[in-house]
């Protein structure tokens, strides 16, 4: 039987693609006998979903006080002025 370590690798990969038949069978059999790896599969799917949601959210949806510094703002304005003047 494959180890939990190997099962964890395959569990991650399963989130992205269908496994080759033998591996699918191996990880399925392992989980049948291993409650920890069953929980890992469900919890990893949740973690992955949440991470995807974090990335799908756009700037506003993220409660985050981080803003451009005044320096950066001035630099960007300067670059835009240069670009506009060059035309």
């Amino acid at each position: 039987m494959i180890s939990c370590h190997r099962a964890a690798e395959l569990t991650s990969r399963e989130l992205d693609q269908r496994l080759p038949a033998l591996q699918e069978l191996a990880v399925g059999f392992h989980r049948l006998l291993c409650p920890g790896c069953r929980r890992y599969r469900d919890q990893l799917a949740e973690v992955n979903r949440v991470a995807g949601e974090l990335l799908a959210a756009e700037g506003d949806d993220q409660p985050d006080a981080r803003t451009l510094t005044e320096d950066a703002r001035e630099r960007i304005r300067h670059a835009l002025r240069g670009e506009a003047a060059a035309e």
């Binding site: 180890s3 939990c4 964890a8 990969r13 990893l44 974090l54 990335l55 950066a72």
Partner: protein
Amino acid sequence: MTLPPTPHLDDPPTDPHLWVDRHGDYLFRFALARVGRREVAEDLVQETLLAAWRGRAGFAGNARERSWLTAILKRKVIDWLRRAVRERTTQQPEGADEWVDGQFTRLGEWRKSPKTWPDPTPGADLEREEFWAAVRGCSDKLPARLRDVFFLWHLEDRPTAEVCETAGVTANNLWVMLHRARLRLWRCLTENWYGQAHPEPEGRNAP
């Protein structure tokens, strides 16, 4: 017939000076959440606004100015992540990862077997904010190369082979790195959020 004035967000992008004030922080947060480095995020915002200015003729007035800018920025974020991944990976198989190996015994069994999570759903708004702060905190703790691969993978909407090709990683290394990133996120979120009881305490909304 006179049309009513459109809200300012829908104005055609004619005045790039206003972009910085209107959208600068939004775009900055968008970039920062994905590349995780302040200076890089600032540069990407600047490149985006310059590209938008040069390409303003192509702006279809039916899109919101902000969506248009965000779409440009997203391409730039993906390009940056690809370069970052490409620079740091080789075609060699991924080396050992001591942290990951440390999660398992020599026989490959969990040292700390996954436990059932108490009710993990963040409820109130305040709790949601704390939740997202925890998720961001955990993703910020990923080693940079794993973080970049993981985020790139989530941002790309392409077949695996193409993602690997453009980022210069083999498919096997991609699966290994995604596994290592997710295992870390899972452990961190279990310790910092899901594994803890989150009762609704009284007076949580008190000032």
